[in-house]
Symmetry: D2
Subunit: 369 residues, 4 copies
């Protein structure tokens, strides 16, 4: 039985139009690559591995040659976002963004540095500082096996491509848990109308968060009715949200998009649990800061609107688009993630789509029929 | 026609139990005082005033004698929260929290300082730094009249009392706008079960934010169907949320509650608009830091839970309680605020309760009947 | 006996060249206006007033028509910087920067709003949010008299002009205390060499901080030897530092200048005392963001340098220039402030210049000879 | 020729008394372990390795069983401090603090996780998140050899002990550069008088920062006179400062100590260069938060002082003690680091002690004589 994205079942989040792919890759140039690592363990499931890597590039070129402005927001900080200091200080994204399993970030960092210096040995002079972040997949994956290899990371980085993004149990999402269902990778996008700049906002989420009782889909508290299919252990998990836009935003502006990602999570039922790492990173492809300028300053393009000026208001539409895209990306992750058995026989059940649609219909939320 | 709170119509937000009053004053000791300033202008409405002051005290005593731990969170910073630096640095609330109209914060600050030094002249030695914050009521109130007087501020401060809190068009809420309806003051509370400490969380909001098309009540997008009753001008407004709890939380802990208030706003449809000041302040009455200690350090009580320890998990329930209380406080503000005509004949319409309930019922959201 | 600036005595801070005026007004367009309020009290000094207002404009025009990028840094937060939320969120300075006495900020805010709406009534639509900050002058000034009037504030705003800046006991500096000597207003500037952009950095400080035992002038611990001339009460005070530059810096870049101001204070002996408000604000005149754009985005100029690029490194020189300018501005404030008697006969003694120079000479620090 | 610490030559920084060891280990329970990794390369120096690991434990036990409050401050963010999100959110240090070479943090993280789960397999449940930070030693060490092994990291962790701390070219300091001289590890401490609590503050720094022209020792600009002995390349480097205290400080309080560490750096000539990672972490051993509590809250001890209370003022003395200890720790790192030749024959010269002392004497800064 193939699982499909939420919109294919008539589930529509918000009212703003999506991009062509309804994915972060609707933002021109953005590339995503994933490597899934699955290994069977002993008969009892010991040593089973369900993990992987997801890598996001802001453009077609090498990120340290074509740097873009970026910003972060930590809604809850029980998680790692290596690279955050540099982004907050310089406002620059100059590496791929690498998502993986919590205990594997050391290995992923190491491998990404090797990949960068392999592509371009001169970068070693400047101590490349890749962005690496994580959620914990130890319920399904035997993390003490340290299953991730350099090649797994290289695989995700080399696979990065434009176009549709695989969702669900793939890449870093392979072993994740969301609202006590199986979680994983989800994506979505929104496009602003021409008189608001026509900009695109795309979101990619790695969902590993949420209490079942809080789960809302399109405003309907389905978690209060879908009370079975629970895992043996509830874990508070984490959630990574990456936001891309082609709107020409400065570092302090794109940071504001990152903050809105948390509002999209809230609509799905996140209360940013104590042991969760709700970590958001947003970047704009609207300016590419080359490294071959011989001047101390360069021209960049910046959004401008505020009380008193006459420019068309674009920030608020961009904010609302971000909230919608993140909400839908989480829903897509739930719709696309299949039931998975892993370490020690632990099982995470998929969101039951039929029952979910029935609940949405009963609450008048299904688009047409 | 008297307006009633949402729960009295069967509208229930979330599933956690409220305190006895379903108000911020369910947190023992918390007091609220309000002063409403209404003045009629000329026949055309010029010079009409619809403003006021709402004051919150963390306890029964003088706040600078009975200091409590506090923390803030700025979801969007197009607003003023005088006192924020000291709270972030020292983690202390040592004044009443005063809410009023944007252009009146200078006057309110001045008057609050006078009130403090009047109660206790010795405080002048230490430059009392009251907490004063605002939303903009200039659509309904002629702010250039600078209508607020010292006595109005004294009135709110002196009126502070335990017990039920008046909601809607009262105090600082007199002239506010919310989702293009009439907004104002709202409050709500939640109580944790005994095995989670039995703590109470209360919220008071001053609602002056939101786009109609985003309004959700209990997850139902009523704003997409209630498209009439719009004001002549949409303003992005602001929202102040004050969170109180008796859980013994340290400054860095209570700051986390403040951050969750934004998630409650998100559930009602906030996307934290560009020109809005979403400003949150949380405090804990669980420790009262006296000023007469002769030791350099004192014993305080602190919440403790985290991975690896055995203490009952209370942070996540406190976070979820905060989200629910803030969401319901916003809904209460909408239910309780009546249609108001003000400056230049401008009108903000009240949320039409009948039509709202009908929509909720159609979406299966009304508790019984 | 006229007091002179430090350099006129051969005291040179750092090694970078100053601008023509060695003042914040070396940054083209920056204007400073001050109003000094002195009132004699009763025979015992009760009711004596020693206070004032200092206002800084980033350019020649109305700040809300010619907005510039700004950033802040709070080294210690026991102080108020009204307007900080908006600057952190939007990165814009759109008002004059008003410095005054702690208890007078309500009045100063009120008066500045009136001045703004008086200049341009349309601004009332957008709730003008002026930047107002403070240090506590209550040792010399009877703050409970609430001596500041609207006209005093208007006076400082209307007096704003390019050119030399009066230092010492003037404007907001009238009643301040620094390292237990008389403090006040100080200013200084630095100019980068042409191959580093030739940019100017200017600093203006309101000095009301410091323990005598920590005072260093040009690295010499003069405070350990100048142990007399102490006031009756030591107060921890505060320090405001305003940094201006014509380097075209974005909000997140100019914020970094603000952070360096604290390092300049450190060199004079600041340890950012517990009860002090070390508040820094930096702005760049390198971009003026007009309000009449009809496009959602505009071209701006931004500094660019980092590992791997070829542009001339300018950030580090700008940082070092900021540190030097702030250090020298503090020293100028001490050199220019005269002994002052105020409230209740309280006295703050001026730094004894002769003895200071003697100490510097003995430590080989005097330029000439 | 053995190099000695600054005080042994009569160089005294500030005026506050040191602890018995003048080291971070003067704070009872604090342990430091170091592993130095030196490997000779080819005849031309290619492949030469000069690197290592320094590990700091807050107490005698396992840090995740005996958690302490911690806080961080990033003066300039071009560096990594893995673990910062959790410290900012929870305020807890629950791992050793591991310092190493920039490109080795992935490996160091990985190895530290293995060490933790090796000590205590149950911690894998909770995704141990060690604190790992870095400075770049690539001028002397061939970082692309990825020379650090798990055993090197284990070595530093296992070697952790109370008592004197080795300084200079040791552990993570093996290959570092400071003010264009050889840098490395330095430490110092201060003790408050009994009437200020008698608390101890200790600092350990990893110095890899600074422009020669800015170097000040005890206020004397020796860098302007010591203009030879320059390396072939200037690198902006970084600086890590770790502050320990036994004063019972809460997370928001100890964070304030971290911020003061930057002021100590400033006194030595740091202007927090653009490409530098000035990263500070402070912790208090005054409360140990066990993991076996069965209550949701616990008693902790907290510093208390502020305007209006009667407790003895301890924050400001603690701040000044931090500034002094950090300044002296940097000076010790310079005094103790010997000339080192490494990768590709690159050389970093040691601070010439004789000439330095001569300069200090000429400026009247030597204690004895």
């Amino acid at each position: 039985l193939e699982r499909k994205r939420a919109r294919e079942y008539g589930v529509t989040i918000g009212w703003r139009p999506t991009g062509a792919l309804n994915a972060i890759t609707d933002v021109a140039g953005v590339r995503v690559g994933q490597a899934t690592v699955i290994r069977e363990g002993g008969p009892d499931g010991s040593g089973s591995v369900r993990t992987g890597v997801t890598a996001i590039f802001p453009g077609d070129g090498l990120p340290w040659h074509e740097r873009v402005y970026a910003g972060t927001h930590i809604l809850n900080g029980y998680g790692e976002l290596i690279g955050i200091n540099q982004i907050q200080e310089w406002g620059l994204l100059q590496s791929p963004i690498v998502l993986t399993s919590s205990l594997a970030i050391g290995k992923a960092y190491d491998a990404t540095v090797k990949w960068i210096t392999g592509q371009d040995p001169e970068t070693a002079e400047d101590a490349p500082m890749p962005v690496v972040t994580e959620c914990d997949d130890s319920f399904l994956s035997d993390v003490l096996e340290y299953p991730l290899s350099d090649d797994d990371v290289f695989g995700a980085l080399d696979a990065a491509a434009r176009g549709p993004v695989e969702e669900g149990c793939v890449g870093a999402g392979t072993g994740m848990q969301c609202f006590d269902f199986k979680g994983g990778i989800g994506t979505s996008s929104r496009v602003l109308p021409p008189d608001r700049g026509g900009y695109t906002v795309g979101a990619l989420v790695l969902t590993n968060f949420g209490d079942r009782a809080e789960l809302r889909i399109d405003g309907v508290q389905v978690g209060l009715e879908l009370t079975d299919l629970m895992p043996e252990n509830h874990s508070e998990g984490s959630c990574i949200a990456v936001i891309a836009t082609d709107a020409p935003m400065l570092p302090h502006q794109v940071r504001r998009l990152a903050a809105r990602a948390g509002l999209g999570l809230a609509r799905t039922g996140s209360t940013a649990g104590n042991g969760s790492g709700e970590q958001m990173l947003a970047f704009s492809t609207g300016n590419v800061l080359a490294v071959d300028s011989t001047e101390p300053s360069v021209d960049v393009r910046a959004l401008l609107d505020g009380p008193g000026d006459r420019s068309p208001a674009v920030f608020s539409p961009l904010f609302a688009a971000t909230v919608e895209a993140v909400e839908e990306a989480v829903v897509n992750a739930l719709f696309m993630s299949a039931t998975t058995r892993g370490r020690d026989g632990n099982v995470l059940h998929a969101l039951p789509i039929d029952r979910t649609l029935e609940l949405l219909e009963r609450h008048g939320r299904l688009a047409s029929a």
